[in-house]
Symmetry: C2
Subunit: 389 residues, 2 copies
């Protein structure tokens, strides 16, 4: 087990009706906030109205910035930073999923640091301060509600890049599973895939002695899979299934499952190029890339892949052949993704294989990706080719 | 799943050599601290000297208060409060296990609140402020290093009582598994039992929909059991086994495994009277009380007891008879406790059954104990009787 530091200051407020507390929680940090969201379903459902009522009651003023898109854009972040500075706002309140929260985090960092905000994503600067961010989560997926991460797309490239700094952990996150009942199934499925991928990225490590976090990862993955099946078998309004998924999505990415180990993250890097060039949902891209990544690495620490197959996908644990068990695990994972409506190959998502060389080159822009196995440009081409098969 | 709030601000600094950072971490909170420990093995091993060197380097001054005992005493807490007030100290630095940390937390709360500190334990007052506490953990057991709890014995009763307040979470905890190599086997075993008991208290809930936390509990328990077997099979100096146990001990009691559920805690209440009257180690008392508690409740939500037997103790999960499976689980648990040198019946620890009526009366002082099943005085007598068999 590796040495580690772990501190997660985000206050989680979880359960039915908790969005009513947004005003009183926000008032502990700020009198004037940027209310940041897509302007779409959360407005139509009346959630934004209820949040504004709660803010009013707590005497918190707000300026609204809508228009957040999936794969949130740098241009909107820049606009947010300008508003926050001009209006002297003290906090960003995100309503939505990972896109609204990531965009809010970028605004929060950009508003109080002198450099250009893209420098953080471009690995030119590090951030040790940001305005506080509060969130009302409506899409369990990215785990951004208690993570140190923000992923933004710079339209000029287009580049999709992430930053990871402790100061980006939200001050509080309000998580009401009821708010997720009305998500389109595709978004629910993308979210489930994203949180599974967050755990898999951590699970696939070369660190040999990580029993506790292995157990926690496996338990969280099994829970997500079981409850996804419930939601996709007529359980859209099953509170407990939605709640298990929502809480697991936060734990998947809050850093606990990293303790003592170093994750892989190659699949995320490879997916970022799918998202950047084809603007497909992050979860969908991961459902395509992860099986290909495992297939490419089938001879790399095969016992761990076999353990994954056994513990998470129920493949018979009494292995005569690790590789066969590992492959059976991938097939079950692919079947699971298909069963919730995810693509698992390029053709399922209209991704043009002709752009593989370009994507591979871009994916290794900062050097080889991954830690379980370092992938260079040639490897990236090979993994993309498996995904295109 | 029940609504919940969760926020854990303790910064965990985990791994080899991390105690060297105690000075720089402390200096972020205070210039003058109370250095609180037993004055025993941590002095002899040179740890206290190294900590003092680190404090000196960081220009932190300290006043020392030694003499912490297992089942830490109120009289020493009162003495600590006086020193902190007179010397205008700004932080308590605990070196040791749960006793040193619990004593430090009580001093930290007592020093900045006007009431008598015992009022917090006697449920007459609640605490919402305390001085910061830093810890260097040497005994993985109580989980106090990142919990909201403190348990103190008032010699006048003697009463052993706990308090639980968010303000009691340590600011930082330094956890180096190497520091645990030299623990006497009995202390290692008591610690292992204590952390297993912390998880079991949470695991035994009436809340039906808690899949994620069930999985996390089961995974953590299996990890503790497996690594305990390693340590007790010649692995005293097995870094990774010690590390798994140490980190699991913190997670067992940091509140994560409580999220969405209400635990039982009757076994802890029953053990507190064993500890108060016979001054036996908390872990040893729990090894006696928990099997008795399960046996007494064998018809109470038996499927959960059977699941515990299957998932934690490896009892065949294809039950024809839940009760039989549950009983097999208790027997395996008892055998495990015996294998690491724990008592499992009164006679093993020289506890006089004649005092059962007195203990039962004291255990329900604040009313019935437990949530999985409410136990009144008559129930308490019955559980103690099973433990005396």
């Amino acid at each position: 087990m590796q040495n580690f530091e772990y501190c997660n200051k985000t206050k989680i407020i979880f359960g039915k009706g908790t969005e009513e507390r947004v005003g009183s929680e926000t008032a502990q940090y700020a009198k004037r906030v940027l209310l940041h969201h897509s302007g779409g379903s959360a407005v139509r459902s009346g959630l934004i109205g209820r949040i504004q009522d709660s803010l009013k009651k707590a005497r918190v003023e707000w300026v609204e910035l809508t228009g957040v898109l999936p794969n949130p854009r740098l241009s909107l972040v820049r606009k947010g930073i300008e508003i926050v500075k001009n209006e002297k706002l003290e906090m960003i309140l995100a309503v939505g999923g990972g896109s609204a929260i990531d965009s809010s985090k970028a605004i929060a960092a950009g508003a109080v640091n002198d450099c250009d905000v893209w420098d953080f994503f471009d690995r030119k600067k590090t951030a040790d301060k940001a305005l506080p961010v509060g969130t009302v989560l409506t899409i369990p997926a990215a785990g951004s509600e208690s993570s140190i991460s923000s992923v933004i797309t710079n339209e000029e490239g287009p580049w999709k890049r992430g930053m990871n700094f402790q100061c980006l952990r939200p001050a509080f996150s309000i998580m009401n599973p009821e708010l997720t009942y009305t998500l389109p199934p595709y978004q629910t499925a993308c979210g489930i895939t994203d949180m599974l991928a967050h755990i898999m990225e951590r699970y696939f490590t070369k660190e040999p002695n990580v029993e506790l976090t292995d157990e926690l990862c496996e338990g969280a993955m099994r829970t997500i899979i079981r409850n996804a099946r419930k939601v996709f078998s007529g359980g859209e309004n099953n509170y407990d299934a939605r709640a298990e998924i929502m809480w697991a999505g936060a734990i998947a990415h809050n850093g606990l499952l990293d303790t003592g180990r170093i994750g892989d993250w190659a699949s995320h890097a490879l997916d970022h190029e799918l998202s950047a060039l084809f603007d497909i949902a992050h979860g969908a891209g991961l459902a395509i890339m992860f099986p290909a990544w495992i297939r490419y690495n089938i001879k790399e620490n095969t016992p761990r892949l076999a353990r994954f197959a056994a513990k998470v996908w129920g493949v018979d644990g009494a292995f005569y052949d690790y590789e066969q068990a590992a492959l059976e695990g991938v097939i079950r994972m692919e079947n699971f993704f298909k069963s919730i409506g995810m693509p698992i190959r390029f053709a399922d998502a209209n991704i043009d294989p002709a752009r593989i060389p370009e994507m591979a080159e871009r994916a290794v822009h900062f050097g080889p990706v991954g830690n379980y196995r370092k992938l260079d440009e040639k490897d990236a081409v090979a993994v993309y080719n498996l995904a295109a098969k």
